[in-house]
């Protein structure tokens, strides 16, 4: 029972980390129908920028803000300069462009920051609370609460943005139908750039949360997250922020049970099984807004 409890809590924490990453993917998918494989190394880059800021004597929070801003700028730049020409082109070309970016950015981070691991101290203590004598819940610590809370708040903010603001409405309109949006006076190009900028900022947040969770970072520290974050986003339906979070939590829980009761090496297989089961029932993901495919 105790083991189950700690595995469940651990699953929630890991799941919210996957969710943070999935949120960024969802934002980009919503705006440009592109799966951004470069998300992981973009987030690694912003994390290393934050580390440089923190190393220079600033607090974690200054580092966080700088990372978010760096994310915004990087996302906007990449969309305008590199993604814009392939938008609306063959789907696979965009995939290859983001793969190329992934490789190039990761190489650049390694070139500047070196390949060695370095410690990343989270903003709050990550020592688990002792529930009773001799039993500490690893995944219930000030830092894990911050991690989960940050993800939930980000999700709520995004939902609020899309539901209740004119800007969000314009972004949704551009994602939904460019022609119609244009006719209605929405500056579609700007909305797409904004979508990428926002996504990269959320990705930057995810990077810092993940760094705090794994404790040690290197240029490749996000690699595994790309796969699990992507699977989480697909589970949720790729279109919906709630879906991303639910997908992330579902995946996090399932993988943690596999880790606890079976073996580490089965994580990849387990994510495949979960994904196939969910997609066979709902081919568009759990929270898809699009009708399911005909069989």
């Amino acid at each position: 029972m105790e083991e189950f409890l700690s595995l469940t809590l651990g699953g929630v924490v890991n799941g919210s980390v996957y969710a943070a990453f999935a949120l960024a993917l969802v934002l980009i998918w919503r705006s440009t129908r592109i799966v951004n494989f470069a998300q992981g190394s973009m987030a690694a880059a912003t994390t290393f920028i934050a580390v440089a800021v923190i190393d220079s004597g600033q607090s974690y929070w200054v580092g966080l803000i700088v990372a978010l801003l760096a994310g915004l700028v990087m996302g906007a730049l990449i969309e305008r300069v590199i993604i814009r020409p392939v938008e609306g082109g063959p789907e696979l070309n965009a995939v290859i462009v983001t793969l190329g970016l992934f490789i190039a950015i990761q190489g650049a981070v390694a070139l500047f920051a070196g390949v060695n691991q370095r410690a990343f101290v989270p903003p709050f203590s990550n020592i688990g609370y002792e529930v009773r004598e001799g039993f500490t819940l690893l995944s219930l610590s000030p830092n894990t609460i911050w991690t989960v809370a940050a993800v939930v708040v980000t999700m709520l903010l995004l939902i609020a943005l899309f539901r209740f603001t004119r800007l969000g409405l314009a972004m949704r309109a551009s994602a939904f139908g460019q022609e119609v949006a244009r006719l209605l006076g929405v500056r579609v190009g700007r909305m797409l750039t904004l979508g990428w900028a926002l996504a990269a900022a959320v990705g930057a947040l995810a990077g810092l949360l993940i760094a705090g969770d794994v404790s040690f970072i290197s240029p490749t520290f996000m690699d595994q997250l790309i796969v699990f974050g992507f699977v989480a986003a697909v589970l949720g339906g790729l279109d919906s922020p709630i879906g991303a979070v639910v997908g992330g939590l579902l995946l996090g829980l399932a993988l943690n049970y596999v880790r606890g009761y079976l073996d580490d090496s089965l994580l990849g297989m387990a994510s495949l099984v979960i994904l196939v089961i969910v997609l066979l029932v709902r081919p568009g993901g759990l929270f898809s807004t699009t009708p399911a495919r005909r069989a």
Partner: protein, 387 residues
């Protein structure tokens, strides 16, 4: 692909049409080539002729180059075989797969296990056939699930496959050798080969060369089969399933089973590629089949030109040679340390991928073909105008 009911936005719609535009050039130009008078009319005969020509070229290439190049050619061959299968699946049938590396692993491990027996193993051709069959069966299972999925959903599922399979080799480490993998006893060159090569070039044919011949033979045979398949009624049906889903269904074509069939054929190619990899690398280990392998294959077919076998071959050549060139560029031109040069190579390689997509979006083969088509059209126009 009307079924992918994305919010009817332009990006969604455009990306659906895209594969057809990208491959249109390929389809159109070979159709045009078929009309030329000096080539036989029959597709099969034409392909046989090309096959014979390529075989001669391959022998010249293998005999005219150093052993290190022979080895590179073997490596290009196994990437190209897998890429050929993938380009059929993705280019012709419109299904994306980020998991073909995992299918290669199935073929490689089957080959390794069958070679790793006490006493004499079965003939290599038999082993490869078994590897192809086993991978095809796995492909059928994956394909049944994949046939119901589209776009990013299929991408996600196949990527999970790419991550999952290497993990299985760790979990079943007793049979599959775990992290350190299974050593593969590369088949020794038979006497007739050694003597044959000696008569041909005055040099003794050694292990590396024998493996290169096997790899190239597998490449030629698989491309011959794939090319015929792509030009046959089956290939046309696949294209119909990709481009004209509703019409195809109305014409009584069962979309699902045709998609599964495409996956099976493509998996079979990946299985053969895995078998060749096993004997060329002489080891099957999970580290060889990480997701990056699957992504590289996809890169190769898109850079080369989607839907074209020649494009897949070209992409595979770049896949093997580009990282080396980029590293040597860093080492010798930029005068970097080895570690730095290796990082810089990734930056260069990544940027080259991006640049290719920006400036040659139809891939290398597609771009050249489009340019040729345009020139021919312009000439025809001017001729029409002049006459």
């Amino acid at each position: 692909m009307s079924d992918l009911q994305t919010p009817a936005g332009a990006p969604g719609a455009a990306s659906d049409d895209a594969p057809s535009t990208a491959t249109a050039a390929a389809n159109a130009s070979s159709a045009g080539a078929g009309g030329r008078s000096f080539l036989p009319k029959s597709t099969l005969l034409r392909h046989l002729l090309v096959l014979a020509l390529c075989a001669v070229l391959a022998v010249l290439l293998l005999e005219g180059t150093e052993r290190s190049t022979n080895d590179q050619i073997s490596r290009i061959a196994f990437y190209a075989i897998a890429a050929g299968g993938l380009t059929l699946l993705t280019g012709l049938n419109g299904q994306i797969s980020l998991g073909h590396g995992a299918l290669m692993a199935v073929g490689a491990y089957t080959t390794a296990l069958m070679l790793d027996v006490d006493g004499d193993p079965l003939p290599l051709a038999v082993i490869f056939l078994v590897a192809v069959a086993v991978t095809a069966v796995v492909g059928a299972i994956v394909g049944v699930a994949a046939a119901r999925l589209h776009g990013p959903y299929l991408a996600g599922a196949t990527l999970a496959l790419a991550v999952g399979v290497p993990g299985l080799t760790l979990y079943f480490s007793d049979t599959l050798g775990g992290e350190q993998g299974i050593n593969v006893r590369a088949p020794r060159a038979p006497d007739w080969f050694v003597e044959g090569i000696e008569a041909l070039s005055g040099e003794r044919g050694q292990g590396t060369k024998w493996l290169a011949y096997i790899a190239v033979a597998c490449l030629l045979i698989s491309y011959f089969l794939l090319a015929n398949l792509m030009r046959s009624r089956i290939g046309r049906t696949w294209r119909a399933v990709r481009d004209q889903e509703v019409a195809a269904e109305l014409a009584g074509i069962s979309l699902g089973s045709w998609r599964v069939l495409a996956f099976v054929v493509s998996a079979a190619a990946a299985g053969l590629a895995g078998g060749v990899l096993a004997i060329v690398v002489r080891l099957t280990a999970p580290g060889s089949f990480l997701p990056v392998l699957s992504l590289s294959l996809l890169t190769a077919i898109v850079i080369g030109g989607l839907g074209s076998l020649f494009g897949a071959l070209l992409g595979s050549v770049l896949l093997v040679l580009l990282p080396e060139w980029a590293r040597d560029f860093g080492l010798e031109v930029l005068d970097m340390e080895s570690a730095q040069a290796s990082q810089a190579a990734f930056v260069i390689y990544g940027l080259l991928l991006v640049a290719t997509m920006l400036f040659a979006p139809a891939g290398l083969v597609g771009t050249v073909r489009l340019a040729l088509l345009r020139r021919r059209a312009a000439r025809a126009m001017s001729r029409a105008g002049g006459g």
